[in-house]
Amino acid sequence: MEDLFTQMGGLALAIAGAGIAVGLGGIGSSIGVGLAGQAGAGVVTEQPEKFGKALVLEALPGTQGIYGFLVGFIVLLVTGILTGDPKTLTLAQGGQLFFACIPCGLACLFSGIYQGKVTAAGMNMIAKDDSHMGKAMVLSAMVETYAVLGFLISALLVFFIKL
């Protein structure tokens, strides 16, 4: 096992971290946007004129995927993979980057799913009366807070880990 890690080196761990952030965030958002989209399609079938509003609501649980992507992107940036000149990382450094990605990944995974559920419920609100759009958006944004916090910690960690 130890051999395996030594051979892979720190960079592989860092890449795995980026994968976790992007992957989990993406899963969270996919499920969330999916849930919201299904509810939205229902609204639009009955009232096609509400398509614009339904689309904006549907986009709300999509931010988790973006946060995950950003953390992954910063990892690529600080490790120099993007510039085509990757740094040699020690196992410890790679591990640090790996763990730094976890807060964002996990927070985005769950927050994306639950934001999707709240947004789907919000679709019912606009189905009944689209002047409630703002309220539906704010209710949904409450869930996003925790993805924002997870992203913040991951981003700060990745930026400030000494390489």
């Binding site: 986009a59 950003l70 940036l77 309220k135 704010v138 944004a141 409450m142």
Partner: protein, 660 residues
């Protein structure tokens, strides 16, 4: 900049002037009419009036129906053309000559025809699918019932089971004839002629093999002929649908006039609702309504110019009666009403939070977006929309708000050095300068959020602290002014004192203020703690419980802390914009390296990527900045639950009335 003071009035007048007065009130457009219930001993409308109202409602519903039917066939109005714009008189004239009933009748006939054709088509397509495999059957359909001694069974079976089944049945009764009409990989269609005596046994065997019986249509001629007639009917019905749709397209040319008529009917419907709400006696009627206090005399004068036979009395509001709420914000503060309305109107005793939230909202929005170029684009696009498009009130308010947001984002973005996410070290020399620490920055840039996020975090939390403190002081002043002096001085004031002290302490401890400030802050906080412990448990009877209650109230500090930490989202969202922009630029850079056509991809990705970033992040900025107002700020002082002032006026859905 506040909630408008409203006055309840009662208008009493002679019944013969009812129509005129209601018309005048509608044109006046500033009355919120309350319903007068029967318990007051006032009668209902006369049967003629009710019939008239019902006629209006019927027409209104009909017009709505016709619009719904015709809309998919009408031409869409261009974005720049805006809604139909008319004056009051033009509206009256245009709707007068419009034959609504004729149009509705035509629409109903056409819709019925289309629906019945569609139903028939469904049925016919089913028939066609069902019987097409039988098209080679040569027997005349009228001979399918069998004879005195024989029975004819038609149906299909899985092809793989056919051979075995056939053998089994023939073995059962040698006189049975089985012939295949059509066969493919999956299914085999067959006719079976057998003796009536053997029928039960054979059917039993067939059922075991999952044979499905098909009942062929009754009639004359072969099945081929029947299918041909089905196809012909399909053509006729499809043609009919096309023709009827063409007819609808023709009718849809009247859509604009129809919409005008609809809005005109809307006015009448509003009027009839006002009539319903009024109280009636044999010779007079009474209307109860709210209106802005400063317009009572104006109303009196307006009515007098039409008739003198009426009286207006100012009535005090009854107990438990909630006056409706009107917000009034002039000029710059007006667009921010969008946010207040989003949350819900303040209760009538509360104050209008619009001016208070405006500065914070726009600043937080800018901090979330932090890109000067994005801000500028937003400002220009919204400005153009405002200038060249005719927009409804709500949308105009939002667009104007976004225009302001764009402007502030431009300045804040310049301070943060956000220009499409470009990095200063690659920018041309004359646009940048080098700081004392040796970091390269854009002109006007003071701080780099990517290399120094801690400073931005402190800024965000600091702004949050200020906003929450501000909210506390608003509550203090407002409750005191409302006459709840005890609550203001014993509940809100100690907390405001505490939070101010904490602010002082932090500023002192972090050496922003000279050293003694920290010392003063420390004692200040200790004093505030003591005051809180002494005041917050005062509801309890037992002195020990008073003390415990006081100490437990300090737990409130955790609430304030979590509120303030919530403002860290400003940093996170700001970083998100910057980094997405950076990612777009990196991809642009990579594709730009592709020989010959790279630049083309680069341009497309640059425009598309930054547009996406602008859209998704301004949406996020709007929602999160709004949330900070609604949850963290409003929580400190605001009570919602106000009843909206619904003015009795000429409301339009489609037509935009220009003032003449």
């Amino acid at each position: 900049m506040s909630i408008v003071k409203v006055q309840k009035i009662q208008i009493a007048a002679v019944a013969s002037h009812k129509n005129t007065i209601i018309e005048v009130l509608q044109n006046f457009g500033s009355l919120h009419i309350e319903e007068i219930t029967e318990q007051g001993g006032l009668g209902q409308l006369s049967p003629e009036e009710i019939a008239k109202i019902q006629q209006i409602e019927l027409n209104h519903a009909n017009a709505e129906y016709a619009i719904k039917i015709l809309s998919p066939y009408g031409k869409k109005r261009g974005l720049l053309a805006g809604p139909i714009t008319l004056t009051d008189q033009e509206m009256e004239e245009k709707s007068k000559g419009f034959d609504l009933n004729g149009l509705v009748k035509q629409c109903t006939v056409i819709e019925d025809s289309i629906t019945s054709s569609k139903n028939d088509l469904n049925f016919l397509h089913n028939e066609k699918n069902l019987y097409t495999p039988w098209k080679n059957l040569k027997i005349d359909l009228c001979n399918l019932n069998g004879t005195k001694y024989t029975v004819l069974i038609t149906g299909f079976i899985k092809t793989e089971l056919f051979a075995a089944t056939k053998e089994e049945i023939i073995n059962l009764d040698r006189l049975t004839s089985i012939s295949t009409v059509q066969t493919d990989d999956k299914l085999t269609y067959l006719t079976i002629i057998c003796e009536r005596t053997a029928e039960r046994e054979i059917r039993q065997r067939l059922a075991d093999r999952k044979f499905t019986e098909t009942e062929l249509p009754a009639g004359k001629g072969t099945i081929g002929e029947y299918l041909k007639s089905v196809s012909e009917k399909i053509t006729t019905h499809s043609k009919n649908i096309k023709e009827q749709e063409a007819e609808l397209t023709k009718l849809a040319r009247q859509l604009d006039s129809l919409k005008i008529k609809y809005d005109h009917l809307n006015w009448q419907k509003e009027k009839s609702e006002a009539q319903r709400k009024a109280g009636n006696t044999t010779y007079s009627f009474i209307i109860e309504a709210w209106l802005p206090k400063n317009r009572v005399t104006e109303l009196q004068n307006t009515l007098e110019s039409h008739t003198k036979e009426f009286s207006i009395i100012e009535k005090p509001a009854e107990e438990n009666e909630l006056p409706p709420v009107i917000l009034e914000n002039k000029n710059v503060a007006w667009p921010f009403e969008t946010l207040t309305r989003m949350y819900g109107l303040p209760s009538h005793t509360n104050l209008d939070p619009t001016p208070f939230l405006s500065v914070f909202f726009i600043l937080f929005f800018a901090l979330c977006l932090t890109d000067a170029a994005y801000g500028l684009i937003m400002f220009i696009v919204m400005g153009l929309a405002l200038k060249f498009m005719t927009l409804g009130e709500g949308i105009r308010r939002l667009v104007k708000l976004l225009m302001y947001c764009g402007l502030v984002t431009f300045f804040v973005g310049a301070i943060f050095g956000g220009w499409f996410g470009f990095e200063a070290k690659y920018a041309p020399e004359f646009l940048t300068y080098t700081t004392a620490e040796g970091e390269k920055m854009f002109l006007f840039q003071q701080i780099n959020a990517v290399t120094n996020p801690l400073a931005v975090l402190i800024l965000a939390l600091g702004l949050g602290f200020i906003q929450i403190l501000f909210g506390l002081y608003i509550k203090l002043v407002h409750t005191y002014r409302q006459g709840y002096k005890k609550e203001a001085l014993l509940d809100t004031a100690p907390w405001a004192f505490m939070m101010t002290g904490i602010g002082f302490f932090i500023l002192g401890a972090s050496q922003v203020l000279p050293a003694p400030a920290g010392m003063i802050g420390q004692w200040w906080v200790i004093l505030a703690t003591a005051i809180l412990i002494l005041t917050q448990g005062r509801d309890k009877k037992n002195p020990v419980m008073k003390l415990v209650g006081g100490i437990l109230s300090l737990y409130g500090l955790v609430g304030y802390m979590s509120d303030i930490l919530s403002y860290s989202r400003l940093l996170a969202l700001g970083l998100a914009t910057t980094i997405i922009a950076l990612a777009v630029n990196v991809i642009v850079d990579l594709t730009g390296g592709i020989p010959y056509i790279g630049w083309l991809f680069a341009i497309v990705i640059f425009i598309g990527g930054h547009t996406f970033n602008l859209l998704i992040n301004s949406l996020g900025s709007f929602i999160h900045s709004g949330r900070l107002q609604f949850v963290e700020f409003f929580g400190k002082f605001f009570e919602g639950g106000g009843k909206e002032f619904r003015a009795f006026s000429k409301k339009n859905k489609y037509v935009y009335i220009k003032n003449n």
